[in-house]
């Protein structure tokens, strides 16, 4: 871990061997943190009640976004589903499990999203794009955004979504990384019009099912994912890491780290359901619009962002509502990951040290600029993009991991980034 919390291992957190006498074995895992568990239950209950109330107030989109966010937060926290950590486990130790988990998530999401698209756009070749999918222009700007975002992951130790769930774990880096992200977004707004005119305006928006058909796209994407899976497995150490067997089901679910592929499979299903009901998964829309409000108040950013503020008739995208569906999603994510961490005994707030602050802010600024310029992050542009059949998702993903690898390698050579 780069933010000072305990080092992640594939075997999950250790737990005490001794068991208090007279305790139900199913509850033994939580015997030493009854208060934490009670607080976690209260949080989960509060999320449920909030969703119920919102639904009753004719805000079903907010209610369901809150619940999707909560489910997403729990899975992220339980599976330690962090794009950077998964990549780093392979990059440093050639441990393929994390990357395979990501591939499972993409594969399940691809199948699920294609099912949804088949109903919405029976013919992918009509020239129309599925509504509000993360399908963006493919340009040099996207490559640059990916590289910069990847560097930000390496420096701050996570992508934006993982910083959000680590906020719930009391991470010392996450708050600074998120502040940095907002600053980075504002820098992205300032540079956007120049970047747009130089690279984005004439770039092609490539939706793979349009040329390959749904079936062809699934075959090609499946083949690419299969090749990546083969490559990372082939380079794996001869002896795979032993999974410590949990003594009971409760420990396996609530304390130990879930196998990455289970987390990935659940995220693939969540992504499909979320797209069907509200919007594709993404965690930066709300952060971006808040950053834009701030930039507007400080008169830092241009009032018009070319190509982004499009014609919407009389309906303006003015963020005056207290909470957008994406805002509810992010709040649900953070609150539920806190509850999940409390139950697991992984809520360990730390006093920030200067290196937490510096690396959080620096990495965060890069994450923010990359997410704004790339029109999304690892969850939106990469994950939701690839599952929707966007070439931009693949390009952003390849650029991002290249940026991470280069930054890790050079940062360690220069003694600026620790190993592990």
């Amino acid at each position: 871990m780069t933010d000072g919390t305990s080092v992640e291992t594939l075997t999950g957190s250790s737990h005490r061997d001794e068991q208090a006498p007279g305790i139900d074995p199913a509850l033994a895992a939580f015997a030493d943190r009854k208060v934490s568990v009670a607080v976690a239950l209260a949080i989960v209950l509060a999320i449920g009640v909030s969703a119920y109330v919102l639904h009753g107030q004719s805000s079903p989109a907010l209610a369901i976004s809150l619940l999707f966010g909560a489910a997403f937060g729990i899975v992220l926290q339980r599976a330690r589903f962090c794009f950077f950590c998964m990549f780093r486990e392979w990059f440093d130790d050639r441990a393929p499990q994390g990357v395979l988990g990501l591939i499972v998530a993409l594969a399940v999401g691809l199948v699920g999203t294609t099912l949804v698209f088949g109903a919405w756009l029976p013919d992918a070749g009509t020239g129309r794009l599925p509504p509000d999918a993360f399908i963006g222009p493919v340009s040099f700007a996207l490559v640059a955004a990916g590289m910069v975002f990847g560097a930000g992951m390496a420096i701050s130790g996570s992508c934006v979504s993982a910083h959000l769930y680590r906020l719930g774990e009391g991470s010392a880096t996450a708050p600074f990384a998120l502040i940095g992200t907002i600053i980075g977004f504002i820098l992205g707004f300032i540079s956007w019009n120049t970047v747009y005119l130089a690279a984005v305006a004439d770039a092609s928006v490539v939706w793979l099912p349009r040329t390959l058909g749904y079936a062809g796209h699934l075959l090609v994407a499946g083949l690419v994912l299969g090749l990546i899976a083969y490559a990372v497995t082939r380079s794996a150490p001869q002896k795979p890491a032993e999974h410590a067997r949990a003594r009971d089901q409760a420990t396996a679910i609530f304390v130990d780290r879930w196998p990455a592929w289970i987390g990935g499979a659940i995220i693939g299903v969540l992504a499909t359901m979320s797209y069907l009901r509200v919007a594709p998964l993404g965690v930066t829309a709300e952060i971006g619009s808040r950053a834009r409000q701030l930039a507007g108040a400080l008169e830092l950013a241009p009032t018009r962002l070319q190509g982004l503020d499009g014609l919407r008739g009389c309906i303006a995208v003015v963020r005056d509502a207290l909470l957008s569906p994406n805002g509810a999603f992010v709040l649900g994510l953070v609150a539920a990951s806190l509850a999940s961490a409390l139950v697991a005994g992984q809520f360990k707030p730390q006093r920030p040290r200067i290196d937490h602050v510096l690396r959080g802010l620096t990495g965060g600024v890069l994450l923010g600029w990359g997410a704004m310029t790339g029109l999304g992050c690892t969850v939106g542009t990469l994950f939701s993009g690839i599952t929707a059949g966007a070439l931009s998702g693949w390009v952003f993903g390849a650029s991002l991991f290249t940026g991470t690898a280069v930054t890790l390698w050079s940062g360690r050579r220069l003694g600026l980034l620790p190993r592990g």
Binding site: S58, A119, W120, P122, P130, P131, D132, L276, R277, V278, A279, R304, D309, G310, L311, R312, G313, C314, I315, A316, V317, V318
Partner: protein, 307 residues
């Protein structure tokens, strides 16, 4: 005895059914959710959603409804104009509209774009076009069912007419009406747009170099015609409301807004509910306020976005 009760009940129900059917089949330009839900399986009824938010239709629409995208299906994307006759003809075929079909349009945002759709349908002479009163908002509030499946319909055989220019006001028409005062001009934008305090609602990107309104235009913001639940106020209320503003149908009427789509909502109620002679100016303020050599009234004193 039982049979008498059953017969009476059946007759009563039949009368109710006839009454609700005639509600749509008759002269009313509106249908309510209750009627529509009962008639969803009628092959002579085609339900069409015209919403502005992308993904709204896909994530749940009225069962059997088809989707029309206003800014690509209903407009000409090259010239600033409504869809060409050929393009619109193709659209009605695709939607399965025949000579005797009742087309029910509805959408988000208080039926703004559905009303715009109704205006385009009317321009091309499609009869029996109704709005679902209250649109999506009321349908959802009444907890009526939604569906995510695509409807498949037999292609329609309707032949559309030449565009009826009597329903459209062009820049020359609104200029002439402003000078001669032989028509009532209604500006349905907000009071701040009308006065020139602001050039457009916040976030709108299609702007004009000047703010204000057409000389002689009366300001009745479109929202005054709508109840809290999104439905139109009653015909009597509407009549009073517009009469109080000096609009009584004694002269032809021209309505405009910023891009011609909110004004369709007012065009619909004045022409279809109150039966007045109304033209919609789809060039609206974005055409008028950018034209060279036309006078504007600007009480706020804004010129070229300065003072």
């Amino acid at each position: 005895m039982k049979s008498i009760i059953a017969t009476t009940l059946a007759m009563g129900l039949g009368a109710v059914a006839l009454a609700t059917a005639s509600f749509a089949q008759g002269s009313s330009p509106l249908v309510n959710g209750e009627w529509l839900e009962k008639n969803l399986n009628d092959p002579k009824v085609r339900v069409v959603e015209v919403s502005v938010e992308p993904g709204v239709y896909e994530r749940g629409h009225i069962p059997g409804a088809q989707n029309v995208v206003w800014h690509t299906d209903l407009v000409d994307t090259v010239t600033r104009d409504i869809a060409s006759k050929e393009k619109f003809q193709e659209l009605t075929r695709k939607l399965g509209v025949d000579q005797d079909t009742t087309v029910v349009l509805y959408g988000d945002n208080n039926n703004w774009f559905a009303a715009w759709g109704a205006w385009v349908f009317d321009v091309y002479g499609v009869k029996n076009v109704k709005l679902l009163d209250g649109g999506r908002k009321k349908w959802e509030a009444d907890k009526r069912p939604l569906d995510t499946r695509n409807a498949s319909v037999q292609p329609g055989k309707l032949t559309v007419s030449e565009p009826n220019q009597k329903l459209r006001a062009r820049l020359a028409d609104i200029r002439a009406a402003s000078d001669s005062k032989n028509a009532t001009i209604v500006d349905i934008r907000s009071a701040d747009e009308y006065s020139g305090k602001i050039f457009a609602p916040p976030g709108s990107q299609e702007l004009t170099v000047r703010a204000g309104h057409v000389p002689g235009a009366l300001n009745v913001p479109w929202g005054r015609a709508v109840s809290e639940d999104g439905t139109f106020k009653s015909a009597d209320e509407l009549k009073k409301l517009y009469a109080a503003a000096g609009i009584d149908g004694s002269k032809p009427i021209i309505v405009y807004c910023r891009i011609g789509e909110r004004s369709s909502h007012t065009w619909f109620l004045l022409s279809k509910i109150l039966g007045y002679d109304v033209k919609n100016d789809d060039g609206s303020w974005t055409e008028y306020g950018n034209s060279v050599g036309v006078p504007v009234v600007n009480v706020a004193g804004t010129v070229w976005s300065g003072k």
